[in-house]
Symmetry: C2
Subunit: 502 residues, 2 copies
């Protein structure tokens, strides 16, 4: 299947038109950006760069909504918009949908809650909107959802996006796509995602899945050339058989990370009031995840970190050929902790051969250690630590993955020292250029050449400029030593899984 063909396939999918409408009408927005959710959502659509002249607010009284001409009724519109976005009290929705149907609108997002998740009345209403959609051949997301975020709405404009969610913040665009039965997991994650360099391109809050469900979204993501890693938040699976079959086709090419939030009495209660789903059994889900190659977790931090790791692997086509980990560190403590957690997560930390150790010993102080971890102790020659040693390890054929602890923001270190009266010479001032040219570019080439991932780790928060450099080169950097081993283990397991199909 060629890439072009894939793109064709993709554009013909009904989800393509929901993610990329050329015109939109919106029900339920007014001028109060704080107390009306629909207003915040319209505000976000405008702020994302959607052409204002292609937005049609529908409002019974207002003549203008957020500076845009409003219409009393969808039937009054000069054109038929590609998408209707509805956030109104649930009772009115059937009537609105009827009118949309008459106008010829085929794609909708229904944000409003108040359907099956509230009990009997909601069930009836739910059935009603399903029937209207059927009658007019409509496809819709929701109800009880936040809709969609599409960072690829106008790919050529960097910060442009199409965002129907009420969260006004948005992530840096990447190859990660999310489908979620929770609006929160679909968008409250954006702040931390940006801090941690988790690049999300698309996110879909599916709500109650009356019409479009996870299986539909996965079908779309499967063929979507902008999606290469998929994140799922699951409270129930409606079409189990189709889900399993489809996921089995996807995971060998595009890894899937999933959170399943059900499985206990209290979660069942919580889920029932959330999306109205009847919670499932944890063991069944564990079995499904195992069978289909889905990587699962109960932690939102894990979720984002695993997506980030697999996004890196997919972007650069770097998958491990085994689970032998080499560790390089300037700190015994974090080294030991990483050895321990690496083993806990199923990686091996083998002792290096005598030959490899003797090669390494040439470059480290006599009090340092070369056996694995390589512990250079206090040694500021970061070119050794960051490039020479990983290169020696890669060539040795003794390891499949590398983690290096000891990334400081040396510019910050030098600024501090300079304030304390130290003269900083030109070389030192240019260190941050040296890291670009003499570490990050070559290590990236080496990673690809050997298919050996190298994760860098340090104690600084990500906002420090040196860490941002690693991020800009798409070289994995971690702000603490818990996640590198956890993520490397996920990458090694996924690499092994993937190999079965190649």
């Amino acid at each position: 299947m060629t890439s072009n063909h894939e793109e064709d396939l993709n554009e013909s999918h009904f989800l393509y038109s929901i993610l990329n409408p050329k015109s939109i009408c919106i029900f339920g927005a007014n001028n109060n950006l704080l107390t009306t959710m629909g207003s915040m959502q319209l505000r976000n659509i405008i702020a994302g760069g959607f052409p204002k002249e292609k937005i049609y607010p529908i409002h019974p009284r207002l003549k203008e909504v957020q500076g845009i001409k409003a219409y009393k009724n969808v039937l009054d519109l000069p054109k038929t918009p590609d998408l209707a976005f509805i956030i109104l009290p649930p009772r009115i929705i059937p009537q609105i949908m009827e009118e949309c149907g008459k106008k010829g609108i085929k794609r909708l997002i229904i944000t409003s809650g108040g359907f099956r998740e509230v009990g009997t009345d909601g069930f009836e209403l739910s059935q009603k909107i399903n029937n209207i959609a059927k009658k007019y051949h409509m496809r819709f997301i929701g109800p009880n959802c936040l809709g969609i975020y599409n960072g690829w709405y106008q790919p050529e404009i960097i910060k442009s996006h199409f965002n129907t969610m009420w969260i006004y913040y948005f992530p840096k665009r990447g190859n990660i796509s999310i489908a979620s039965q929770s609006g929160t997991i679909a968008c409250h994650t954006f702040w931390q995602a940006n801090d941690w360099a988790v690049k999300i391109g698309k996110s879909i809050s599916v709500g109650n899945e009356n019409n479009i469900d996870l299986v539909d979204i996965l079908e779309f993501f499967k063929e979507d050339p902008q999606t290469s890693v998929i994140g799922l938040y699951i409270e129930e699976i409606k079409r189990g058989k189709e889900f399993i079959k489809l996921v089995k086709e996807i995971t060998p090419k595009k890894p899937i990370v999933a959170i399943y939030a059900g499985g206990t009495e209290a979660t069942t209660r919580s889920i029932m009031s959330h999306t109205g789903a009847i919670g499932g059994n944890q063991k069944i889900f564990d079995a499904v995840f195992k069978e289909t190659g889905i990587i699962s977790t109960d932690s939102i931090t894990d979720f984002l970190y695993y997506l980030r790791t697999l996004s890196f692997a997919q972007n650069n086509k770097i998958f491990t050929n085994g689970n032998r980990l080499g560790i390089i560190t300037d700190s015994g403590g974090s080294g030991s902790m990483m050895v321990k957690t690496a083993e806990m997560y199923g990686l091996k930390v083998p002792e290096f051969s005598e030959y490899l150790q003797s090669e390494i010993r040439k470059y480290i102080p006599p009090t340092a250690s070369a056996c694995n971890p390589i512990d250079v102790t206090f040694d500021i020659d970061f070119l050794n630590m960051f490039l020479k040693f990983p290169k020696l390890l890669m060539k040795s054929n003794e390891i499949d993955a590398i983690i290096i602890y000891g990334v400081f923001d040396f510019d910050d270190v030098m600024e501090t020292m300079s304030k304390s009266g130290m003269y900083i010479d030109e070389t030192m001032k240019n260190l941050s250029q040296i890291i670009d040219l003499r570490v990050l570019k070559p290590i990236k080439r080496l990673m690809k050449k050997y298919s050996i991932p190298v994760f860098y780790v340090g104690p600084y928060p990500y906002r420090y400029p040196w860490y941002q450099k690693f991020i800009s080169h798409d070289v994995p950097i971690f702000d603490f030593w818990d996640y590198p081993t956890k993520c490397m283990s996920v990458l090694a397991k996924y690499s092994e899984y993937r190999k079965r199909f190649n």
Copy 2:
């Protein structure tokens, strides 16, 4: 035992004089702040506010070190300093110690590596320095350590501290004290600690423990009025019996969180080359931790978060009376995830009584849920969520702990909306004052009154001003929904453990 008496006891302990020397001599510092570790360490001692006229650098050639008059030999000093800080090649150290002994110096920190952790030669050298210490009745920390950080060096000056470590960054002062067999765990944690509001007052890197070991430090922390929570990083325990006896006395009053980094073949190798310790058996350590009430983890993030949680509990004397958790959320997804992890970690999330549910329903939309979690759905009345509902829950006697999801930085939200053209009135502009007076102060009082901890959670990183407000009131705030349940479970377990002794 009165508080005054405790302080007396404390000052007479030999560790008191190491943490609070009035004068210090330093071996191994020069004017190169980047390549010589000792120079960075002296720089930090100066930057922390140690009186320059009480610092005596010892250097064979330099007349001045970092602007301070240097002496060729410790015997030349006009006075006997309280503490000698030594970072020199290991071979010279016996001679230096002899000279210190002759000068009458009784307290030392020996940073240099190159002792038992490097094998036979190191063992001999190690024995030698032990004998010299014995001969002169010296007590010393190290070798192979970073020494100490004392944030309470001059308690009346806010940012003043005494820092012999090479990390130039320092944490906000608090009641957490750390003793670590890794210099990294003793100080590389400072950046994240500050970001996460983990307030560390003292941190001691014990190195090879030739003379002063964990048991000594714990004896000191036990009586130290500035210490109420203790963090340990352990690669081995030298005096097992004494350790167990002492820790059993401490944990009912001061909780201890520990990382044990050994327990496998590879960690044994890693530890051997780090501090020279012979690794122990994981099962033995697990049994010791259980018997002594130590809270243990293999994660550095857990470590800091547990310390933070227990620091809050100790500061405010808020301990739970059971493990029944009430959850309040404006998001079904994070609510469900917290229910699930809470149960995983041993908490209960009971359904509220009909009466309590009817009380809550008065204030929430009809589509919202009152059963536990309370899911208010989209509702911007944060006074209900943040104060009224937790108050109702506290009074109900149905729960022992509360977690609330939905803290946004509303100033940031309003700034964004204001940029989009919305008029923000005076009340809205003053929201951040309202949260101070109408949420944080009253909830703190309620927490103390009922001894029911309330943890607040949201999706923003800690740096946002609203989160800083929570931090300044010492009201626990979490930047994501993984750690609140984990930490609440630790607090509930510790509270139960503590009750056994009261």
